[in-house]
Every structure is written in C-alpha cells, then in structure tokens.
Amino acid sequence: MSIAILLLTLTLGAYFIAVIEGWAVHGRFSLTRPALSAVALFGRESLLARTPDRLFFEAAPVLLLVAGLLAVAVIPLAPGLIIADLATGALFLNAALAYVLVALIMAGWGPNGGYAMIGGWRFLGQFIAYAMLIVMPITAVAMRAESLSTTMIVTSQADLWNVFYQPLGFVLFVLAAMGLAWLPPLDLPNAPGDLAGGVEAEYTGVRLAVLRLARMVIILALAGAIVTFYLGGWLGPWLPGWAWSVIKMLVVTTVMLTTGRLVPRVREADLLAAGWKLGIPLALANIFLVGVIALVVDI
C-alpha cells in the first residue's frame, strides 16, 4: 500500500516539476502542457545520429532515470513512508546521484556530435566544482543527527531545523544541488543559447522523453534531499506528515527553478574557482562550526 502511495507521489511530483519548469521557462502556467509534450515526443521519430556509440546513446537516458529513482528511494515522506530506509541513506543518495555524471558523459559521448560532447565534458568540470559541496554539508548534517539514516536526520531536527542550525551548509547545498540538476545559472551541459541543447542536442522522440523525465526525477530527489536534510522533512504542525513533505518539496522546487533564471549563466572557469576557493573553505568552516555547537550547546 505504502509503495503504491509512494509511486503515485513520485509520478505526480515529477509531473508537477515539469509544470513548474514550463511556468518558469515559458511564463505560462499550464497543467496539461507536460502531458501534451510527452504525447508529442512519443509520437515523433527518435532519430539516431550517424556512427553513434550506440550502447552509450541508448543506455544514458535509462541510467539517468535509474540514478534519479534510486536517489528518491531514500527520501522519507512521513515516518514509515519511505521506499528503502537504509542505515547509510545520506551516503546512498550521493552514490546514486554520482551516476548522473556518468549518464551525462555517456549522453554526451554517445551521439557522436560536437555540441553534445562539449556538454558532456562540461558537466564533468561542473561536477568537480559542485561535488564536494554536496558531500561536505551532508557531513555536517550527519554529525548533528549522529546517523546517516535519512529518517534519523529528520527526527534530529525536532527542536530546530537544520536551516537555522547550519544556514551556511544549507546555502552551499542548495547551490550545489542546482549544479547537480544543471539548473540555470549552472546549466552548462545543455546551455540553451550557446550549445544548441548540449547533451540533449541529438536526442529526439522517446529517448528525449526519457531524458527529460529523468531530469524531473533528479530535481524531485534533490528537493526531497533539501527538505530532509535542512527543512525538517515531515515535521510541522496541524497537517499530516506527508502533506508537509509535499508542500515543502513543492516550495523548494519552485524556488530552485525560478530564482536561478534571474542571473546570467556562470562560466565554467568562474564556477570552478568559486567552488574551490570559496565554497570548500566555507564548507569546512560549516563542519567546524557545527562540531563546536554540537559539543557546547544541547540542541
């Protein structure tokens, strides 16, 4: 029963993310647009580039979807409403999302196209900039919870949400999450306007539909991760737990999809410099501060 609820939530969540993204990109809020685009994509011919690396080309969208689904599996919506309550959940989330990188490199390399390949390798550079900023804030979150289990992380925030306990880690994690989901202004791998679609450039029809769906699932997983790690997960007054999770995830998704569009796209070199010269020292400072607070104050 709970698996059915979770699958339904997952499907609806991915759909709503597509609705919100359509709203953010085209400025029109339409509940039917993603369904119509999906039908259109399924009806269209799925072209194959000349002399592709067929295996990579076919496997990449599927691997991306699997990575997203595995990441969603450790996000709790309410006590007991989780697909896999692993003891190493927070680390598992990282492990699953690391394969987003592998999938995008495969998607870039596979179709034998210049724009796609540049997009794929660009994402590897972007990964080097954001990867540590995903892992290090999670370290501080796990330090407070004294556990890597995602449900334990939520219950550790009963008195005070982590967004107030470690605001620095929250900001770094949200920025890194936007890098991971290649959302503007960190949309270097597909870069509409300068790479002609990048990793998506050679994908059409059904394959493109799977690729886009996978990205929605990844955004959903990241919104879930932000809510679980920093915004108290299912905790909240009056409403049932799952409702709080859903509301928080929708708000986080909307913020992630809309605010980034207000700033220009970041250059790869600037992103790497910012990540390593500013981001990592700040993340280390965050770990140190959280350690001191955890030892001194009893919250």
Binding site: D53, L55, F56, L86, A87, T88, L91, F92, N94, A95, A98, Y99, L101, V102, I105, M106, W109, W121, L124, F127, I128, A131, S147, L148, S149
Partner: protein, 175 residues
C-alpha cells in the same frame, strides 16, 4: 535458508559481472568505453559488498568509483591520439610481459585464498548502523595514523604533479 541461496546467487552474478566488465576494458578500442567498463566493474564489486551486508563499504565503493573513473576517462581522452577508437588503435602493450605478470598475480591470489587461515566464519553480522559506528571508531582510533599518512601522501603527490604540469611562464609576458 532461501536467503543465503539468493545471496550466493547475487554474489556470483555480480562477481561474474565484475570479471566480464574487466575483460571488456581490454577488448574495446574506445578510451571512454574502456574507462566506463572499468567503472562498472568496480560498481559490481560494490554491489558484491552490499550482498555481503557490508552496506557502508558497498555504497562508498559505488560512489567513489563513479567520480574517479569519469575523471580518468577525461584524462584518457585528453592524452590519447585516438580516444574514440575509430582508428582501431592497439590498446595492449608489452603483451608477453603483461601475460607473465598477470599469470604470477593470478597464482599469488589463488595461493593466498587457499593457503591463508581465514579463521572461523562470523556467526552474526552487526546491523548496518552499528557497522558505520564501528568503522568510525576504527578510523579515529587504531587506523588513524595509517589513514592520515596515506591522505597526506596523496595530497603531496597531487600538488607535486600539478606543479610539474604547469608550464613555466616566460619572462617578459606571454606564456
């Protein structure tokens, strides 16, 4: 005992997958395919850890290899003349030497697995959260010195390699 039968099945399955991807590393001509085959071979080993209920080690292995092998793929593409394998570049070198070295390695591994005294099999495995805790205590206790010195060695060699790789700047402007 159906659980252990399934465990054995998946252990063998992922073990064979690891070996198969290891063979693919040398059978393909494409650098990127080669690197990613190595990645999936290591991922299969991570899955073997998971089957053997070493959850933390398995997840860590699966996570680390994805990033390491992708970076390696980038370097292979950067330094090789024929990264896509379109020119059917020969991937193996010094065949006779590597065959002998591989044979010696195989014999050594078999000898260790047969001759070593493995001690009695563990009767019970602590649950995953306890494993994480035990590993943390181990890393911050007895094994701390080894890990710290290994980390420092790697950091030093990375800085040294970067220093060597930077082209010296010519006096009077320009690089």
């Amino acid at each position: 005992m159906t659980g252990s039968v399934w465990e054995l099945f998946f252990l063998v399955f992922f073990g064979l997958a690891a070996i198969w991807f290891g063979i693919v590393v040398f059978r393909t001509h494409s650098m990127v395919r080669s690197a990613l085959a190595l990645l999936f071979s290591q991922t299969a080993i991570g899955a073997m850890f998971m089957v053997m209920q070493a959850e933390f080690l398995g997840v860590l292995q699966i996570m680390m290899m994805a990033t390491e092998m992708s970076v390696m793929a980038l370097f292979m593409v950067m330094f090789m003349m024929d990264p896509g394998g379109m020119g059917a570049m020969e991937m193996s070198h010094q065949k006779r030497l590597s065959l002998r070295a591989g044979g010696v390695g195989l014999l050594a591994a078999l000898a260790v697995s047969w001759l070593a005294d493995w001690g009695p099999a563990a009767a019970s495995i602590p649950d995953a959260s306890r494993q994480v805790e035990l590993l943390g205590i181990e890393l911050l206790g007895r094994s701390m010195f080894i890990f710290e010195s290994a980390g420092l060695t790697i950091l030093t060699s990375m800085i040294a390699a970067t220093m060597v790789a930077i082209a010296p700047r010519k006096p009077g402007g320009g690089t």
